[in-house]
């Protein structure tokens, strides 16, 4: 009887050992790791600089003008992103009066060396504006047209708004900036 028990014990131990090793062979180590990968999209950003003749910021509240006056107002634009872009601006005249028109109240001295006025009404920068660069001035002076701004305009607020639009130059080859595609419809700044 004792012999049988001893045999059973040996067989049981052998079974346990065999089971242990067979599990060790079948159950390979496996490990899982997760990588969180990130894609980010770029953007175009520009800054419009408006200064007076002595390079101080143009007063946001505006200035008092008289007909025939020539106001020193220098406007240029800076590329404030990491991507080169094409650039165009539009000048919009305005007045706080329904009866009067601001059309032709201003006459600017457009810098034709660096900028080109096209038939669509936009003024295009002739080159690509690279990151960190500033354009030459779009204009430096604004004449208050004396023939247009008569006594009816006394006490009215006339505005000259510069809207700038940019479109990426990368993957967007164009012989001239005005032939580039993808111009935004709303102003960037």
């Amino acid at each position: 009887m004792k012999k049988i028990k001893a045999s059973l014990l040996i067989v049981a131990i052998c079974a346990v050992v065999v089971t242990f090793f067979s599990q060790g062979t079948l159950a390979y180590y496996s490990t899982v790791g997760t990588a969180t990968n990130v894609v980010t999209s770029g953007k175009i950003k520009l800054v419009i600089h408006e200064t007076t003749g002595d390079d101080t910021p143009f007063p946001q509240e505006g200035i008092y003008i008289i007909p025939g006056q020539i106001v020193s107002k220098r406007v240029n634009i800076e590329n404030a992103c990491d991507h080169p872009f094409y650039l165009r601006v539009k000048l919009v005249n305005g007045i706080n009066s329904q009866e009067l028109s601001a059309q032709d109240c201003f006459n600017i001295n457009l810098n034709n060396n660096a900028w080109t006025l096209q038939d669509d009404g936009f003024i295009y920068y002739n080159k690509v504006l690279n990151p960190g660069e500033k354009t030459p001035y779009v204009f430096t002076e604004v004449e208050i047209v004396g023939e247009k701004v008569n006594t009816d305009y006394i006490g009215k607020a006339l505005t000259l708004t510069v809207n700038a639009y940019a479109v990426q130059q990368e993957n967007n080859p164009a012989e001239h900036p005005w032939l580039a595609v993808g111009w935004p419809t709303e102003e960037v700044a």
């Binding site: 062979t25 390979y28 180590y29 496996s30 490990t31 899982v32 790791g33 997760t34 990588a35 969180t36 990968n37 990130v38 894609v39 980010t40 999209s41 770029g42 953007k43 175009i44 990491d82 991507h83 990426q168 990368e170 993957n171 967007n172 993808g182 935004p184």
Partner: protein, 215 residues
């Protein structure tokens, strides 16, 4: 003499940095000792980011990201990968982009994955990248295509894509190959010469300085 040494050491440093600043690749390294993966290089957005090249992408971009999957330990492993797709909040942006994944050794083979970047597609289930012996590696090419028609609504956005990697350790057998040569021997001589030269010059400079002080 001192000025010459300074210039030389600075030049060595500049060369070292410029040589190491090559295009950044991603890497997945299996560490058999700690039984985990190490993902590199990571980014400010995710410590396990494998896509350093896919930042600040613009419409029309087609960018390739190389990723090396390595087994550095003295074990034999089968390695798998799968995609969990875009994280919540990233789907709309990533659905605009196309992603392709292929093993770079298999350039003539179909892509393992060719779909919108938010999808899991053919990487929904585990895909075996191969059996890697000690020191073995497999290279992946990941290509991101950004359509030129991508609208302004998608500018300045962040998209997160989760990938998982899995290894099965296999028992090594007598006939298994040893760690393969990487053939990356091109600059070893130069590096050794620069290290020895720099060390010698540094020590010489220090000794001269020390002697001058004593005098």
């Amino acid at each position: 003499m001192k000025r010459f040494l300074t210039v030389f050491l600075v030049a060595v440093l500049v060369v070292s940095f410029s040589l190491t600043a090559v295009a950044e690749g991603g890497s997945v390294t299996y560490n058999g000792q700690s039984k985990n993966f190490v993902f590199a290089p990571g980014s400010q957005y995710s410590l396990t980011d494998l896509f350093p090249n896919f930042k600040d992408v613009m419409p029309g971009d087609s960018i390739t990201q190389e990723i090396t999957v390595r087994n550095t330990q003295n074990v034999k492993v089968k390695i798998y990968m799968r995609s969990l797709g875009a994280q919540n909040g990233s789907q709309e942006f990533l659905s605009q982009l196309n992603l392709k994944v292929q093993k770079s050794q298999d350039n003539l083979m179909p892509y393992m994955f060719d779909a919108a970047a938010d999808q899991t597609a053919d990487l929904t289930n585990w895909v075996c990248l191969g059996t890697l012996y000690s020191g073995g590696e497999v290279n992946l090419n990941v290509i991101l295509n950004v359509p030129t028609t991508l609208k302004n609504d998608y500018k300045d956005l962040i998209g997160y894509i989760d990938w998982q990697f899995m290894v099965e350790e296999l028992p090594t057998e007598p006939g298994d190959p040893q760690a393969p040569q990487t053939n990356d021997n091109s600059l070893i001589g130069l590096w050794l010469a620069l290290i020895v030269g720099s060390a010698t010059l540094t020590i010489t400079t220090l000794i001269l300085k020390h002697k001058r002080k004593i005098i």
